[in-house]
Symmetry: C2
């Protein structure tokens, strides 16, 4: 978060202002004393920085509700309606969109189904633009629109938002970030921050910022949809790797004698715990069958469905033990269909995870997401807010007020 | 490297001074203009900071040798003899020790064999103290002794230098850092920075700072001795995980139908590519047999040895493909016996790595260490220098001159 080249007084002031706003955005309301304790700055510096943020409307000071004796202290809170982003979770057959305000407040949310076959990149961009218009119509007239974030089930270059491969959408090498930017500029005459990211990476971000891993510096989020993706927070920061493609946990080979994966390798983890593996093992393998259907069949007494779920538990545990040994995380968050399966197989999973080395296994928790099905969506909002949080006054000065479509 | 709480002018000045010294230590001599370009600071600030460092002897300015027209420019260089560390690479049957000066200059180096059975933690501490005395006897009388770094083949808590488990030494839960500190204080009346780390983590550090990954931000180093360890650099920083135990690549399960590992799991990578796996597969499995012996037998025409090496190539490639998918590194460095094996099986390895996803495999190189057998040793030196590089003047003020034993 600190620019490596921070070197001047101005840099320092900008840096400290950004730190305070980020604290309020991520941690919620705080008194000036809290901010002094948090930042290590002196009281008068905190006062000046808070005033600067209040002047542009990003924060406001209100009477606190803490149960203290005496005068209620003023609480500084992020003004949700002052700066907004539009966030998208693009899934194989569903788009989820939300208008999210500063502080992570969801101001409006909508789901829209689409047909996998006709959901081309062009169709996706058209849909994103239309839904953005609907979202902004729910923003305050004085809100500044500072970002648009998108989660995609595929490998994405985090620098330019190019989708390298989204196999279940059939997208190859799509400059999605650029296309969205062009379409936004064509409609609004400007573009805010536009961030396109892998869906699991975004799940990791939101569960780290305000979910089950809020107090942890090392977190792994697994998305389970048709495939299995992974997002990683290492030492408090998203792991990107050389090109933003790290965390491809679904293609970790765990069973070299297993079946051939769509990636060409044999025995990838995804071939054992992905949706198709489960429905196939349950004897329910068609494109419309969901993991929830297998779970329902199992609870109705279907032996084959029960066996399929038990097998997923074994392989889930083997793979998790690998991730625990490799990354030594505090928490692993099971998203997507793994969120539904985990409660049914947690005993099997823990028995397998127990094979990880003692020093690492005693430090890890396995959890389901705190943000339920919205981890990716809210992570997309976080990446869209990132520029504002890095330099609030400059970004706000450049962002026009939200325009209803 | 930047303290997250950097907030005052003093912090900033300390930070910038440290950045310049780190640049000179890691990158070698530079002109003042180079330092201006590197740091983004203005010329007069760089001048003041360089003078402060020169005043305490950490750097000196000498006539440059660059082939430029006109006046030769002055080069600022780290003064190797001004500040020294003692570095250790503790192996199962060998200790390597070095005296290393600022800038990474090896001033003295020695190897000493020991018997595995009698190499208890107590014996190790006695040996470290005796060898430290020998090393410091080779330091300049005016040198400041600022650190002592140790690499251990096991899991180590990076905060307090406690060895949780070094299976091939038979060490369990040994407070090695503390014991060394006590012994150093008993002998010298003070202790410099004492850093105990996992051997592969240190290999990663040195190959990143001044080896084959000097220009890469994501690197994986594999140590191959009796076991197989891993050290990771993620986005320019060592990955530690929740407790400093990350990177246990040897216990990634790649063959669930394989043999039981000493960790209790079945089919760990180490059971396929570790020393014992190779010597056993070659039919040469006794404790004295080294991988080099298997390689010699293979090149003399021994079919079983040849087959063992080919099998290692397959499993090495399968595991590397997993690491490439998970971490998206720019470079993987094969240390220890893998360094000897790789040239013989690189074709097989690359064929397997080709199963990694296209976006990640096209970004990775597989290399042998630039520092040959000394990656861990020189990484131990880097961790011992870390405090000096974070705050040069304060640390130097506290460090007495090196005392010959």
């Amino acid at each position: 978060m600190v620019p490596r080249t921070a070197a001047t007084q101005d840099d320092l002031r900008r840096h400290n202002r950004a730190r305070l706003l980020r604290r309020l955005h991520e941690g919620g309301p705080a008194s000036r004393s809290d901010l002094v304790a948090y930042s290590g700055l002196n009281r008068s510096t905190v006062g000046v920085l808070v005033s600067e943020l209040a002047e542009v409307g990003l924060v406001r000071e209100v009477a606190g509700t803490a149960g203290q004796v005496g005068r209620p202290s003023l609480m500084v809170q992020p003004a949700a309606e002052s700066a907004v982003v539009v966030a998208f979770d693009l899934r194989v057959e569903l788009t989820v969109v939300a208008l999210v305000g500063l502080g992570g407040t969801v101001l409006w949310r909508k789901e829209q189904r689409h047909k996998r076959a006709s959901y081309t990149p062009e169709a996706a961009v058209r849909s994103i633009i239309a839904l953005t218009g609907q979202a902004l119509a729910h923003a305050s007239p004085t809100a500044s629109w500072v970002g648009l974030g998108v989660g995609v089930p595929g490998t994405v270059d985090h620098l330019d938002g190019r989708v390298r491969l989204a196999p279940n959408l059939g997208w190859v090498d799509v400059p999605l970030g650029e296309r969205i930017r062009e379409a936004v500029i064509a409609k609004y005459g400007f573009a805010p921050t536009i961030a396109v990211s892998n869906d699991a990476d975004l799940g990791a971000v939101s569960e780290h910022v305000r979910g089950v891993g809020a107090h942890n510096r090392n977190l792994i989020y697994l998305s389970g949809e048709v495939g299995v993706g992974g997002g990683l927070i290492i030492d408090g920061r998203p792991m990107s790797g050389a090109g933003g493609y790290g965390g491809e946990v679904g293609h970790m080979v765990v069973n070299p004698d297993g079946v051939v994966c769509r990636c060409g390798a044999r025995g990838c983890w995804e071939t054992e715990i992905g949706r198709d593996a489960i429905t196939r093992a349950a004897g329910m393998g068609d494109d419309q069958c969901e993991v929830a259907d297998v779970i329902a069949a199992a609870s109705a007494g279907n032996r084959r469905a029960q066996a399929a779920i038990e097998s997923v538990g074994e392989w889930l545990g083997i793979g998790l033990a690998n991730l625990v040994n490799l990354f030594n995380p505090e928490v692993i968050v099971l998203g997507g269909h793994l969120r539904l399966l985990f409660p049914l197989v947690s005993g099997t999973v823990y028995r397998r995870v127990h094979y990880a080395l003692p020093a690492v296994r005693e430090q890890v928790r396995v959890e389901v997401p705190a943000l339920n099905g919205d981890s990716t969506l809210l992570g997309a909002a976080e990446t869209a807010f990132e520029d504002l949080l890095s330099d609030p006054l400059d970004v706000l000065a450049r962002a026009p007020h939200a325009v209803a479509s």
